[in-house]
Structure formats: structure tokens, C-alpha cells
């Protein structure tokens, strides 16, 4: 008989252990079905959260073999195919405090969420009595970001949060800031965006894991790019992130490729670079990884690259 073997990371508040459950394979079932089956029929001490069963309440995020999923909408057959095995390891979502077993704590995240003023700051054009006018186009801008169900999959997958000290904002928080910054009914975009900038906006490493795994398909990294651009328009050009972006922009426009020797200097300034990067750079020179005397020449077809720049500028108008 084919069977599932689930290895579930357990935690009771003090002790952690891994518990194995075996039960017969059934086709066309979801991850949540399996967890519910274990609780109902095998082990009532197993805890996880779930509610709506159809991907709108956001309760049942869980990690399987290191990747985060929303349990109710994830077919087990797909998981089996992905990992080529019916033996699966379950863990709670990453980058959260764990309460028990697969149950995580949302409270600290809500404190963090409040930083971006996650509520509409209405313009004077609307009123509580009459509401607002908004065009279909304006609505369509906020249609996708308001799909977010706060399931936490993006947080769990975030490459920056994995190494961050806790200041960097979770992707769903950036989404919230974006959603209000873009709402035609909101009169204070800056109040949502400034806290994003103040909390390490530029540290997103564009690993795309949030976008890849978001069960609602929200283009989070596009939004982060938008937020970055907007902060530059707001005048915040003289920070590490913006300087880093300009270094890429200028080099590629000029010669079609990056000047890696100049990149840290343009990003961090001469003094900081000498203090922070010279020892490592020296080791890299010594190992033959970089050549300090190499000045990249214009690539063939640089005109084409400049055309792309021009085109992109026209499009973004």
C-alpha cells in the first residue's frame, strides 16, 4: 500500500522534536486535508491553524521541505511531484515566533505593520457621507495588492528577512504601503512610503521568492521597485540604495557594463569603501578575482543599449 510519511516539526513551548506520521496515500487531496486527517484520526495533540478552506482567510501557511505553501489550495500530488517523494517534512512558517507546532504568532508583525500607517488617509475630495469618486483605471491599480490575505508565505520565503535583524519590513507590509500610496483616494502617499524608506527599503535582494510563492500571485517585487523609484522622486537620492542603483544606471549607459571597482565607491563613498572594503578587495586582487587596473571599455553595440534606455524612458512616461 502506498503511504504518506509526514515528518512534522513539533514544539510545545519548551521542547522541540520531529514526529513521524504514516497514513495511506489518497489522490487529489490537499495539504490541509492531510493535516486535518492527522489531527482528527491519528494525533489530536498536533496543532496548526486553518479556517475557510478556500484560500481567502490566510490561516494555513506552512513549510514543506523548506518551501512555504498555503495548505488548503496546495494539492499533495503537486508536492509529491515537486519533491519526487511521499516523505515530506513540515515546519511552521519561517521568520515568525512559533507558539506551538505549526502555529505562529502574528502579534509582533502587526506592530511592525503599523509603521507604514496601513489605513487610508483620505483626501479632501471624499467625505464620510458621500464617499469618493474613483475611476475604473484608478481602481485597477489597487485591485491586485488588495488580494493579499496576510497568509505570511512571503515573509517565510523572504531572503532578506532570513538574515535581517528585524528592521526590514515584511513583503506583505511593503504591499500594504504600496496599496495605499497608489490609492487615488489617499492624500498622503509620503506618509506610507517614508517609513518604508526609513526601514531598509533598499535591502530587498530581489531573490523573487515572495513573488514565486505568493498564493495570490501579487507582484511584490514590482511594487518594491515602484516604492524605490518613488522615494527617489521624493528626493531621497543620496542614500546607499539609491547611489547603488545610479552606479549601475550610469555605468551601463556609459559603457554597456558595470565597473566593479567603482561600484563600492559610488555606493558608499571613498572613505567608507577604504574602511570597509579595502581589506576584502586586497584579498580578491591577491587571489586574482579582480584586476584593479581594468577599466571596462565600451561594449560592442553600445548604441543599442542607449536606445533601450531611451525607449524605457519614453515608456515610463
Amino acid at each position: 500500500m502506498e503511504k504518506f510519511i509526514f515528518r512534522i516539526h513539533r514544539y510545545d513551548g519548551t521542547t522541540k522534536w520531529v514526529q513521524e506520521y504514516q497514513f495511506p496515500y489518497e489522490e487529489n487531496k490537499t495539504v490541509l486535508w492531510a493535516l486535518t486527517k492527522i489531527k482528527d484520526e491519528i494525533d489530536p495533540t498536533l496543532n496548526f491553524t486553518s479556517a475557510c478552506r478556500h484560500a481567502i482567510c490566510g490561516s494555513c501557511g506552512v513549510r514543506i521541505n523548506g518551501t512555504s505553501y498555503l495548505g488548503c489550495k496546495t494539492p499533495l500530488d503537486e508536492i509529491i511531484e515537486t519533491f519526487d517523494s511521499k516523505m515530506l517534512t513540515f515546519e511552521p512558517l519561517k521568520n515568525y515566533d512559533v507558539i506551538r507546532d505549526l502555529v505562529i504568532d502574528w502579534k509582533p508583525k502587526m506592530k511592525k505593520l503599523k509603521l507604514v500607517k496601513p489605513w487610508l488617509i483620505p483626501t479632501e475630495e471624499g467625505s464620510v457621507e458621500k464617499g469618493f469618486k474613483q475611476t475604473e483605471q484608478e481602481f485597477s491599480k489597487i485591485a491586485s495588492p488588495t488580494d493579499c490575505i496576510l497568509c505570511g508565505v512571503c515573509t517565510s520565503e523572504c531572503g532578506q528577512l532570513n538574515v535581517n535583524d528585524g528592521v526590514y519590513l515584511d513583503p506583505f507590509i511593503l504591499n500594504k504601503a504600496y496599496r495605499f500610496a497608489l490609492d487615488s483616494r489617499d492624500g498622503s502617499s509620503n506618509e506610507h512610503i517614508q517609513p518604508v524608506l526609513d526601514n531598509e527599503l533598499w535591502k530587498c535582494i530581489h531573490c523573487m521568492q515572495c513573488v514565486t510563492n505568493c498564493p495570490k500571485g501579487i507582484p511584490l517585487t514590482d511594487q518594491i521597485a515602484y516604492l524605490r523609484k518613488t522615494t527617489m522622486k521624493m528626493g531621497a537620492k543620496d542614500n546607499q540604495g539609491a547611489r547603488h542603483a545610479y552606479a549601475f544606471y550610469d555605468d551601463v549607459k556609459k559603457v554597456g557594463r558595470l565597473n566593479e571597482m567603482m561600484l563600492p565607491i559610488k555606493t558608499d563613498g571613498m572613505v567608507k569603501t577604504i574602511g570597509k572594503r579595502v581589506p576584502m578587495a586586497a584579498r580578491m586582487v591577491y587571489k586574482g578575482k579582480i584586476n584593479p587596473l581594468h577599466m571596462p571599455k565600451k561594449v560592442n553595440g553600445i548604441e543599442g543599449i542607449r536606445k533601450i534606455y531611451k525607449y524605457a524612458q519614453e515608456v515610463s512616461k
Binding site: P44, I56, C57, S59, I99, K107, V128, E129, K133, F139
Partner: protein
């Protein structure tokens, strides 16, 4: 002891609207308790929309027409003073939600878009694509964050406490720590949602829709009103019971039997698929019964066909619904019709509310709003789009009512609150350490099976009598259950145990009220009494739980102000 002027139990649309409006008065301390994180609440599952006579799409629409439609939809069992209050105030609440940032879909003039819905004489259902409840829930939560409402997430209501016939507070469990604590309160708003889980898996309801607040009120003597009226949504996905929005019918979807026939022509020749939910559900079940469905027995179904709407319309108006059908039924509605069958969706009945403008109950200090309550707005059958409307509007007014009550009252005695907390502490300890007894999951499944088989869409005396006997037995069995988890911290097995106790108490109320209503009205459809009987049953059922746990039925008058009962035809 924790003390709050106003405590709201439940953080769905009704609970958070109540918390928000109670917080308007900054002199009051307001808490909002919820057994789950607020945005997990079931309001979020509402897809199709929220009714209000804005008149944007049809300038001839009016609160008066909305009033009339709701009364007719209710099969004349709704209290008309409540309905009129509701339909008159709804347009204001929509503007308020807009001002809170709810991302509504828009029409060409920049107004909130409206769509047709079952049982409505005008297209008055405001919507945000097919995630209306979701965006409303999140927007209200955002407003609560702004107002700094004191949230107690994952705190579970165990009981309400009344001492010398005066409400003094509640006893709750902090699920995260397992602590059981009393909270003193001057007033409380119960907003804990419905109890569709009496049918366990055969419902569109979330796993936690277990009527905790309704049961808590019932246990302290507030009667259960009209519990026999259970709405079965016509279009649950065939294999899981998950909801496929009424927006599918609203946008022009066809219901087809196995002969490819639009069978609604037989039952509602004018309205066709846009008939009210009770009628459409019965029509589907009749098709299946008479051999014109697909599949066999429990696996029977009919089809919802949307292909003729075209890709553009489906992708624009029903994107999430399409995804749902793909993920949970494996069908792409652009290519194929979707197998559907009715699924328990909504409880028209609930906590007996006596004043529709303050949402107060017969016990001073206790208010109730949303699906847990019975105002009665929906009577014997709720119209689609009237429930999100119900939660936001009556949630708001319950908050205002509770605020005013809190000003009138002072904190009561702590004696019984402490005793009650002790009782629960002891119970928690006993139950979690119990090693043998009846299996709680079996009890739950047996309850659901008998409710579906015997107190479902079509009802008969003998079948319901069987159900009553079985439920009574299960209530006995329940006293000797074990849950199998001795932990204190986050013991969901214990929470589930209390929830199932609540469901059993309420299921018994449903069966008794259904047995005794010897007529067919709205969602309550009896094979042995096939017509409406206004002479004997134009009345609300009240189920009382007496001291010795006996149930007693009483009937009270329906408030009829404008519309005299007439034959209900679509």
C-alpha cells in the same frame, strides 16, 4: 481583574464595526476578543457583494424597493421595522466603507459598481470583483488598527456571566497560554458568526463557525430565535461544498441538468437562475431527486455554465471564482461547466435581539450583531448580498448601542465571574487529563450526518424525529468524551471540544424548532406540510433553554408595518 467598558466578542465584519463605533467615544475602554486572528474571520469569504440602494446603476432603485425585496425574500417572516431601518441606512454605510478605503469596483462614472443578485428587483449589489467580504474585512481591520482598538487575538469565549439577573462580564481562554480569565464588562457585543458547522463538512462555512456566542447567550437564558431557518446556498462546489459565488448567477450563468436543459424555467420562469437561494436550492435538489442530475447519491450534482459570458467578462468580474473552481474542483469555467450542489451556507436564526437600532437583547448589557444574531432581518430566507450588509450596518449600531449601555451601567460584582472562571479551570483540567471515553470526532461526524440526512433541504416529521433522538444521544455521549491532548498551551483539541458542545446545543434547537413548524416557509421546506400557513405560523420561534437543560418553544409575533403577506412568486 481585566475590566473593559465594552467588550466585543468576534472580529469579523460585525465585531470590528462594533469595536470601531464603540471606540468613537474616547472615554470608553474597548476590547475586541477573537478566537482567531481578525482577518481570518468568515466575513472575508463573502464574495459577491453588499446590497445598498445607491441607485448608481439603476436610478429607479430605492431603499423602499430594497425593503420590499427583503421582506418578500424573507417569506414575510422578517420584522419590517428592522428591514426598513436597515435598507434606509445602508447607502450611508457604503459611503462610510468607501471612506475607510474599501476598494470597490467602479462604474464608468467613478461610482461604486453594482450588479444584479438573486431576489433583487434592481441591480443594487455593490462589489469588489468577487472578493467583496475580503476587502471589507481588511479595510475595517485597518481602521481598527488606526483607532488602536485593543485586540485580544486567539482568545476564546467560554461563557457569559449573569449575577442576580444582571450581566457582569465573561470568561475567556487565552488560547496561546491556556490561561482562563474572567473579564469584567459593562456591556458586550456578541458577533461570533453562524453555526453552519452543525452540518460539518457539508457547508460553505469555515471550520470554526460553531456559534460560540449564540450558545453562550442561549445558556444564560437568551432564547434562540428562528433556528430552523437554515440557508443552503445553491452553488457549493460538488466535491467539497466550498462556495461558488452567487455572482456567477448574477453575471448570467446558466444552471443545467444532465439533459443540458436550463431547468430553472420550470421553477422560476421569469427570474430563471436569479431566483432566491431557497428556491434555486430546492430546484437543484428536485432535479437530482427526479433523476436529471449527474452522479449518484451523495455525489450527485448539476452544472453551472458560464462559458457564454466569454473570457473577458469572466476574467474581469469573476477571477477568483474561476481560480476557486480550478483549484478545488479541477475545472476551468472558461472551458467547461462547473459541477455544483447546494451546501449549508447561512443561519437566518440566532440570538434573539429585541431592538434593531441598538441590537440589545433581553439582558441589559448584552448586544448581538451579524450572523450570530436574529434581528430579524432575513426572516425565513436571506437574500444574497444582504449578509455583509447586515454585519457592517448592525455591527456599527450594536457598537453604538453597547457604548450607550456602558454609560448607563457600572461594573458589577466579581463573585460569580471568579466562580465561573474556577468552574472552567476545573473543567479544562479534567477534560485534558481524561484518558478514556467517547471520541469527540465521532460525535461531531454523527451530528453532521444526522443533520444532513434528516434536517436538510427537504424535511419530514419522522426524519426529524430520528435526528432529535440522535442529537439527544450525542449530547449524552458528549458528557463522557475525551480529547486526547493534555497540554495547557494552545490546546486546540480543547477549543474544538467546547465548540462541538456548542454545536450540539444549537443543533438540538434547530431540530426542535423545525419539527414544530408544520408548514413550508422560505428555507424551511417540509414534504409533509408543503404550503405556508400564515394562520398558525406567521410567527418567530423562540427556543428557551431552561435550568434543567430542557428546551421550550414559544412563538412571538412578526412585526408587519407595510407589506402584508402575499403569495411569494418569482
Amino acid at each position: 481583574m481585566l475590566a473593559y467598558d465594552v467588550v466585543v466578542v468576534g472580529a469579523g465584519g460585525a465585531g470590528m464595526m462594533a469595536a470601531l463605533s464603540a471606540s468613537e467615544d474616547e472615554s470608553l475602554k474597548v476590547a475586541c476578543i477573537s478566537k482567531i486572528f481578525p482577518t481570518r474571520s468568515h466575513t472575508g469569504a463573502a464574495q459577491g457583494g453588499i446590497n445598498a440602494a445607491m441607485g448608481y446603476r439603476d436610478s429607479t432603485d430605492s431603499p423602499e424597493k430594497h425593503f420590499k425585496d427583503t421582506v418578500k425574500g424573507s417569506d414575510f417572516l422578517a420584522d419590517q421595522d428592522a428591514v426598513e431601518f436597515f435598507t434606509t441606512k445602508m447607502p450611508e454605510v457604503i459611503s462610510e466603507l468607501d471612506y475607510y478605503g474599501v476598494p470597490f469596483s467602479r462604474d464608468g462614472n467613478g461610482n461604486i459598481a453594482q450588479r444584479p443578485f438573486g431576489g433583487a428587483s434592481s441591480p443594487r449589489t455593490c462589489y469588489s470583483a468577487d472578493k467583496t467580504g475580503h476587502v471589507i474585512l481588511h479595510s475595517i481591520y485597518e481602521q481598527c488598527l488606526k483607532k488602536e482598538v485593543d485586540f485580544f487575538d486567539e482568545w476564546f469565549l467560554l461563557s457569559l456571566v449573569v449575577e442576580d439577573s444582571s450581566f457582569t462580564g465573561l470568561v475567556v481562554m487565552n488560547i496561546k497560554t491556556g490561561e482562563i480569565v474572567p473579564i469584567k464588562a459593562k456591556s458586550v457585543v456578541i458577533a461570533t458568526g453562524g453555526f453552519g458547522r452543525i452540518y460539518w463538512n457539508r457547508t460553505t462555512n469555515a471550520l470554526n463557525m460553531t456559534g460560540d456566542g449564540t450558545a453562550a447567550c442561549f445558556n444564560i437564558g437568551i432564547p434562540l430565535k428562528d433556528p430552523e431557518f437554515v440557508q443552503f446556498h445553491p452553488t457549493g462546489l460538488a466535491s467539497t461544498g466550498v462556495l461558488l459565488s452567487e455572482a456567477c448567477r448574477g453575471e448570467g450563468g446558466y444552471l443545467l441538468n444532465k439533459d443540458g436543459e436550463r431547468f430553472m424555467a420550470r421553477y422560476a420562469p421569469e427570474k430563471m437562475e436569479l431566483g432566491p437561494r431557497d428556491l434555486v436550492s430546492r430546484s437543484i435538489e428536485t432535479e437530482i431527486k427526479e433523476g436529471r442530475g449527474f452522479g449518484e447519491g451523495m455525489d450527485s450534482y448539476v452544472l453551472m455554465d458560464l462559458r457564454h459570458l466569454g473570457k473577458k467578462k469572466i476574467m474581469e468580474r469573476l477571477p477568483q471564482v474561476r481560480e476557486l473552481a480550478m483549484e478545488f474542483e479541477g475545472v476551468d469555467m472558461l472551458e467547461e461547466p462547473v459541477p455544483i450542489r447546494p451546501s449549508c451556507h447561512y443561519m437566518m436564526g440566532g440570538i434573539h435581539v429585541i431592538n434593531p437600532e441598538t441590537l440589545s437583547t433581553q439582558i441589559e448589557g448584552i448586544h448581538a450583531a451579524g450572523e450570530c444574531a436574529c434581528v430579524s432581518l432575513h426572516g425565513a430566507n436571506r437574500l444574497g448580498g444582504n449578509s455583509v450588509a447586515d454585519v457592517v450596518l448592525f455591527g456599527k449600531y450594536a457598537g453604538i448601542g453597547a457604548r450607550e449601555t456602558a454609560h448607563r451601567r457600572s461594573y458589577g460584582s466579581e463573585t460569580k465571574l471568579n466562580q465561573e472562571a474556577q468552574v472552567w479551570n476545573k473543567k479544562f483540567e479534567t477534560i485534558r487529563n481524561k484518558k478514556t471515553g467517547k471520541n469527540i470526532v465521532d460525535i461531531r461526524n454523527k451530528m453532521a450526518q444526522t443533520m444532513w440526512d434528516n434536517v436538510g433541504i427537504f424535511r419530514k416529521e419522522e426524519e426529524m424525529a430520528t435526528a432529535l433522538k440522535e442529537i439527544n444521544q450525542l449530547i449524552k455521549d458528549y458528557k463522557d468524551t475525551y480529547i486526547g491532548d493534555p497540554a495547557v498551551r494552545y490546546n486546540m483539541a480543547f477549543v474544538n471540544y467546547v465548540e462541538i458542545g456548542n454545536l450540539l446545543d444549537l443543533a438540538k434547537g434547530v431540530v426542535m424548532a423545525a419539527l414544530n413548524r408544520k408548514e413550508s416557509r422560505g428555507s424551511h421546506s417540509r414534504g409533509d406540510y408543503q404550503t405556508r400557513d400564515d394562520a398558525n405560523f406567521l410567527a418567530h420561534t423562540l427556543v428557551h433553554k431552561r435550568e434543567n437543560d430542557d428546551y421550550e418553544l414559544e412563538y412571538i409575533q412578526v412585526k408587519i408595518t407595510k407589506y402584508q403577506p402575499e403569495e411569494r412568486k418569482y
